[in-house]
C-alpha cells in the first residue's frame, strides 16, 4: 500500500512532505507536551500506589493505621492513575499527534484542547483524592466517585472531538489503518464510559445487569480503547522507522474488523460461573476464542513487516519498545482466549493469574508501545534529541525484565492458588499463605519497573530543560553503534 501515493506521510522522503509534517508537529506541540508531562507524572504517581499495594498484599500490617492507605483504596488509586492518568494522557498525546500527521491537518484552536486537557487532569486528581478519602464506588474500573466523573466525561468529549475534527478536515483521500483504529477508539470510549456510568452509578440497573455492564465496559477499556490506540501507534511507527510499508493491506483490514466485531462481546468471560444467564457467558466465551483471528492476523502483519530488519529494530529505541509490545499483544491475547475456556477459567478465575494477565496486556503490550511512541514523538516535537542512550537502555531493560518477572510470578502463583482453592481439602488460609512468595516476587518486579520509570522521567525532564550540549546534539540517539544515521 505504500506505493499508492508518493505523498503519503508514512513514507515521507521528499523535503516538502517533511516540512508539512514539521508544521503539523509544531501546531500540536504545546498540547502534546502537556499531555506527555501529565502522563509521565501520573505514571510516577501510579507507580507509588502500585508499590504500596503490592507490598501491602503480603505485609498487611504495613502502614495499616492510615485509613486512606488501606489496600482496597490504594489498589484502586493505582488502577485509575495508570488507566486514566497515564493511559489516557499518553493516548491524547501520541494518538492525536499521529491522527494529525496522517490527516495532514494542523490542529486548530489548540488553546481549547489545552484547557480540556487541564480539566481532564483536574477531574482525575479530584477523583483519585476521592478514592483515597473513601468515596470509592467499588465498581471495578469505575472507582472514581460520582462528583468527578461528569468533569472527566466533558473534558474527554472536548479532547476526543479534536481527533474527529482532524479526520474531518484531512487532506488526501487515502485513510491509513492507524486512522481507523484511532477514529474508532475515540468514538467507542465515550459510549462505553457514559453507558457504564448511567447504568451502574447514576440510575443503577437491576441486580446483575450492573455486573454485565461493568465487565462489558471494563474489558472494552482494554479492547476498544487501549488496544486500538496501541495497534494504531505500532502500525504507524513500524513502517515509519524502517522505511518500508506494512506487509499486507488486506491483513490489516481483516485484523481491524475482526477486532471490532469480536472484542466487544468478550468481557462477560469475567463472570464465568457467576449468577448470569448461561447464554450470555457462552457468547462471551465464543467471542474470546474468536479473538484468535485478529490477533494472529495482526501478529503476522507486524512480524512480516520487521522480518529481516532485526538489527534496525534493536538499535531504534522506538522499535525496541514497540516490537516488545507487539509480541506481547500476541502472547497476552492468546492467553486471554485460553482463560475464557470454562475448564481453564475454573482454575484461573478469582486468582492472581488474572492480575498477571491484565498487567501483561496493559503494561507489556499497551504501555511498552506507548513508550516507543514517546521516544519517536518527542524529538520531533522539541527538535531536540534524547539526551541519554544509557537511560533509554536502563528504561527498556528494567521495564522488559520487570514485567516479565511480574507476569511469570503472578501467573504461576495464581495457577497454583486456583488449583489449591479448587481442592476443598486444603484449608483456605493455606491457599492464601502459599501465594505470599509469588506476591513478594511481584513486589520485586515492581521495584524493577520503578527503576525504568525513573530513568524515563529523568530523560524526559533532561530533554525538556535541556542544557546546551543536548540542544547541539546532532543525529538521532540510537541504542547501538551504527555507521550511517537513521530514524529513531
Amino acid at each position: 500500500m505504500s506505493n499508492s501515493s508518493n505523498e503519503s506521510p508514512y513514507s515521507a522522503n521528499s523535503a516538502a512532505v517533511r516540512a508539512e509534517l514539521s508544521e503539523i508537529d509544531s501546531s500540536i506541540r504545546s498540547a502534546a507536551l502537556f499531555f506527555v508531562i501529565s502522563a509521565v507524572s501520573w505514571l510516577m504517581v501510579g507507580t507509588v500506589f502500585a508499590l504500596l499495594a503490592a507490598f501491602k498484599a503480603h505485609e498487611p500490617d504495613f502502614a495499616s493505621t492510615f485509613e486512606f492507605l488501606t489496600f482496597g483504596r490504594v489498589r484502586s488509586a493505582h488502577l485509575n492513575a495508570m488507566a486514566l492518568g497515564w493511559g489516557n494522557n499518553i493516548i491524547f498525546a501520541v494518538g492525536l499527534w499521529i491522527m494529525a500527521r496522517l490527516c495532514r491537518a494542523p490542529i486548530n484552536h489548540k488553546g481549547l484542547l489545552l484547557v480540556a486537557g487541564i480539566f481532564w487532569n483536574i477531574g482525575l486528581t479530584v477523583g483519585i483524592a476521592g478514592i483515597l478519602k473513601g468515596d470509592i464506588t467499588s465498581v471495578e474500573w469505575l472507582e472514581i466517585p460520582h462528583y468527578a466523573t461528569p468533569l472527566l466525561a466533558i473534558s474527554y468529549a472536548l479532547i476526543g472531538v479534536w481527533g474527529v475534527m482532524a479526520f474531518r478536515f484531512r487532506k488526501g483521500d487515502h485513510v491509513y489503518v492507524s486512522q481507523w483504529y484511532i477514529l474508532a477508539a475515540l468514538f467507542w470510549f465515550p459510549w462505553l464510559y457514559v453507558v457504564a456510568q448511567i447504568m451502574i452509578i447514576w440510575f443503577p440497573a437491576r441486580g446483575v445487569v450492573q455486573s454485565v455492564t461493568n465487565w462489558w465496559f471494563a474489558h472494552n477499556v482494554l479492547g476498544l480503547w487501549l488496544t486500538p490506540m496501541a495497534l494504531g501507534t505500532a502500525y504507524y511507527l513500524i513502517p515509519k522507522v524502517l522505511g518500508r510499508p506494512i506487509y499486507s493491506y488486506y491483513l490489516s483490514v481483516l485484523g481491524f474488523w475482526a477486532l471490532a466485531i469480536f472484542y466487544n462481546w468478550a468481557g462477560v468471560h469475567h463472570l464465568i460461573g457467576g449468577p448470569i444467564p448461561v447464554w450470555l457467558i457462552s457468547a462471551g466465551i465464543v467471542a474470546s476464542v474468536m479473538m484468535v483471528i485478529p490477533v494472529i492476523v495482526v501478529g503476522i502483519n507486524h512480524h512480516m513487516s520487521v522480518v529481516g530488519l532485526h538489527k534496525e529494530v534493536w538499535r531504534s529505541p522506538t522499535l525496541r519498545f514497540i516490537v516488545f509490545g507487539a509480541i506481547s499483544y500476541t502472547l497476552v491475547s492468546l492467553t486471554g482466549s485460553a482463560m475464557a475456556l470454562r475448564s481453564v477459567n475454573e482454575v484461573t478465575h478469582f486468582t492472581h493469574f488474572t492480575v498477571g494477565h491484565s498487567h501483561h496486556g496493559v503494561y507489556a503490550f499497551f504501555t511498552m508501545i506507548m513508550f516507543g511512541g514517546v521516544y519517536y514523538m518527542m524529538p520531533r516535537l522539541l527538535k531536540r534529541e534524547w539526551p541519554s542512550a544509557s537511560l533509554i537502555k536502563i528504561h527498556f531493560w528494567a521495564s522488559a525484565l520487570g514485567i516479565t518477572v511480574m507476569v511469570v510470578a503472578l501467573q504461576t502463583g495464581g495457577w497454583i492458588q486456583g488449583l489449591e482453592m479448587n481442592n476443598a481439602e486444603i484449608p483456605f488460609l493455606e491457599t492464601v499463605q502459599n501465594t505470599i512468595p509469588w506476591l513478594k516476587a511481584r513486589s520485586i518486579s515492581g521495584v524493577m519497573l520503578t527503576i525504568g520509570h525513573i530513568a524515563f522521567a529523568i530523560n524526559i525532564a533532561w530533554m525538556l530543560f535541556a542544557a546546551g550540549a543536548v540542544r547541539a546534539k546532532q543525529g538521532p540517539t540510537l541504542l547501538a553503534d551504527t555507521k550511517e544515521g537513521g530514524n529513531v
Binding site: 493505621t65 467499588s138 466487544n264 460461573g273 457467576g274 478469582f350
Partner: protein, 225 residues
Amino acid sequence: MKNLPLLFCGIFFALAFSFSGLILSSHKQLGSLTRTTETLVPSDNDPTVMVMPEGEPLFPAMPGGIEQQGKEVYISMGCIYCHTQQIRRSGFGADFDRGWGPRQTVARDYITQDRVLLGTMRAGPDLANVGGRIFQQGGRDWHHLHLYNPQITSEGSTMPPFAFLYEEREIDGAASKDALKFPPDSKYAPAAGYEVVPTHRAKALVEYLLSLKINYSLPEAPIIE
C-alpha cells in the same frame, strides 16, 4: 480504505451489536425480575400456571437500615477487591465443598441491591453466605476481633487490620458491653484498664456481614437438603 460511510457504520454497528446483545438483552431478561416466594404452586384458575402462594414471605429480603450503612463501609473500604459475593454451582470450583453456601446464587438473589458486589478476586473467602456461617453474638464478637486485627482469629492471613474503625480508651467506671472480647493472653489486647470499642462504622459493617445469608430457596434455585 476510502469508503468512509462504510467505515463509520462498521465502527458504530460493531459496538451497537454487543451493546444490544449483552446490555439491552440482559436488561430485558433480568430487568423485570421481582421478589418471590420460596416455592410456587399451581394456580386455582389454571393449573398449568404457577403462582406465588398467598401469605408467604418474599425473597430476597429487603436490606435493613444499619445493614445498608454497613454496606457503605464495605464499599468504602474496597472489600470487593479481595472478597467475592457469589457461589458457583456444585462441581464448578470448590465453592460447595468449602461450605461457602447451600446453593448456587442466581440473578434474583441480587435484585434488591443498589450496588452489586460480585467481585472477581478471592484473596479472601467468598462472603455471599458469610452470615450463614458466622452468626449470632458469637459471630459478632468474632467479626469485631477479626476486623480489629485478622491475626487474632486467623493467624497468617493477608487481610489488613481495620483498627482505625475501633477506639482504644481508658475504662471509665464499668467496662463497655461493646468492648472487644480478646482471647486470654492475646498480644493484641489493650493494656489493663483499657478497652477497645467499635465505632458506629465498625458495628454497621459487622451487622452487614451478619446479614449476608443465602438461607432461602428460590423457585429456580432450591436448597436441596
